[in-house]
């Protein structure tokens, strides 16, 4: 009976400390210390996911050179539409 009580206390103690341990940040070992390396299968998975989808906005030829855009606009007798922002349309916000 005494041993059962001790076992129950041990279970309660483990349950009590469990969440605290889980909240702590896990050891953040660098990849080389963990001995991990990317497999070819993983490469292919990431590769597929990280390809650019065909997006409608990209069907517009967004010129990065205003001089080139002006030359084309003059040739085609079209107005210019210039997006001005902090960052580029293609990458930076």
């Amino acid at each position: 009976m005494k041993y059962r009580r001790l076992a129950a206390l041990a279970v309660l103690a483990a349950a009590w400390t469990g969440p605290n341990r889980a909240d702590e940040p896990k050891p953040n070992k660098p990849a080389q210390e963990r001995g991990t390396a990317m497999s070819t299968g993983e490469f292919e998975q990431f590769w597929k996911i990280l390809q650019l989808p065909n997006e409608p906005w990209a069907t517009v030829a967004w010129h990065s050179s205003l001089t080139e855009a002006r030359t084309k606009a003059q040739k085609e007798k079209k107005p210019l539409l210039i997006r001005c922002s902090y960052g580029t349309l293609h990458g930076v916000c």
Partner: protein, 309 residues
């Protein structure tokens, strides 16, 4: 409105995209990068901005979609969030094409550069996600999610070394310090040389493999300048007739930074793909992201590994 939101807005409105394609010649410029330029692009930028300021009767130098003619007369400006076919039709007003003398393309080399002659260009696509193990976390989202694009430049001499089976240390340095950043959160700082605590990346029989660890002071850690990053890389290099035909890489990394006093971890993954002919698309004309946004003068020589430039 940021680039991701604007792209998403266009993606949801195919009629608007078609209208832009059919009726305009489009350009996209970064204000910080164009303001200091002393070249034909910089001069034209100031011309149409001044034209709009005159039109509204006050100095104006803000974000927006500007409709102009080739002489720099600005017809109107439309906010990105408001852009529609009708708004653009109204902005066009009484547009009439004009004939004006346009100078030859030339760049202010203090603020702009193009792909080094004979060099290679890799298209970089990246997304970040919650820390975890499943690659599906990085799947594209309908709104574009955290996708960013970038260009990595490889110098001609580096391309030649790669074709000969050697991995130039300058290229590894550039990859790690200037491209393993998160462009989505704004204008990230590049990693300094002393932030590279470990890197062991090797090219053996056409397979590029290795790991790295980067750290900067916790005091300067932010969401865009995260404190540390460690990860692994796998890539493939193929040559034919002494020229690089394939140079594809994937990098995945775990990052940590402090936000509101709490340590946060997240993952980021990048793909690097050789662009066969960079002259064929506009995106390849863009400088690497860390050189844009007004930081060109400070970073260009370091980026190319040429302190004397």
């Amino acid at each position: 409105m940021g680039a991701v939101s604007f792209r998403w807005k266009l993606n949801r409105d195919p009629k608007l995209v078609k209208f832009i394609r059919d009726h305009f010649v489009a350009a996209a410029v970064d204000i910080s990068g164009f303001q200091p330029r002393q070249d034909p692009d910089g001069e034209f930028y100031r011309t149409f901005r001044n034209s709009y300021s005159q039109k509204i009767g006050k100095k104006w130098d803000d974000q927006g979609i500007y409709v102009c003619d080739t002489a720099g007369k600005c017809y109107d400006m439309v906010w990105e969030r408001d852009i529609t076919v009708d708004k653009l039709k109204a902005a066009l007003g009484d547009f009439r094409p004009v004939e004006t003398k346009i100078p030859a393309v030339s760049f202010d080399t203090k603020s702009w550069a193009s792909l080094p002659e004979g060099g290679l260009l890799l298209r970089v696509v990246s997304r970040h996600a919650k820390a975890g193990d499943d690659p599906k976390r990085f799947a594209p989202q309908s709104d574009g999610g955290t996708t960013t694009r970038d260009n990595l430049w490889v110098r001609k001499d580096e391309a030649e070394q790669l074709a000969g089976g050697q991995l130039p240390s300058s290229l590894v340095d550039r990859l790690i310090r200037f491209h393993l950043v998160d462009l989505w959160v704004g204008s990230p700082p590049s990693w300094e040389k002393d932030h590279v605590k470990h890197q062991d990346i090797k090219l053996t029989d056409g397979v590029l493999r290795g790991s790295f660890r980067l750290e900067r002071d916790e005091a300067s850690s932010t969401r865009s300048a995260y404190q540390s990053q460690h990860g692994i890389i796998l890539g493939f290099v193929e040559t034919k007739d002494g020229r690089i035909r394939r140079l594809d890489m994937v990098v995945k990394a775990r990052q940590s930074y402090t936000e509101f006093g709490k340590r946060v971890e997240r993952d980021q993954a990048w793909s690097f793909t050789l662009v066969a002919d960079p002259s064929r698309d506009e995106e390849s004309k863009l400088m690497p992201g860390v050189l844009q946004d007004g930081k060109f003068a400070r970073r260009y020589a370091d980026y190319l590994g040429r302190r004397d430039k």
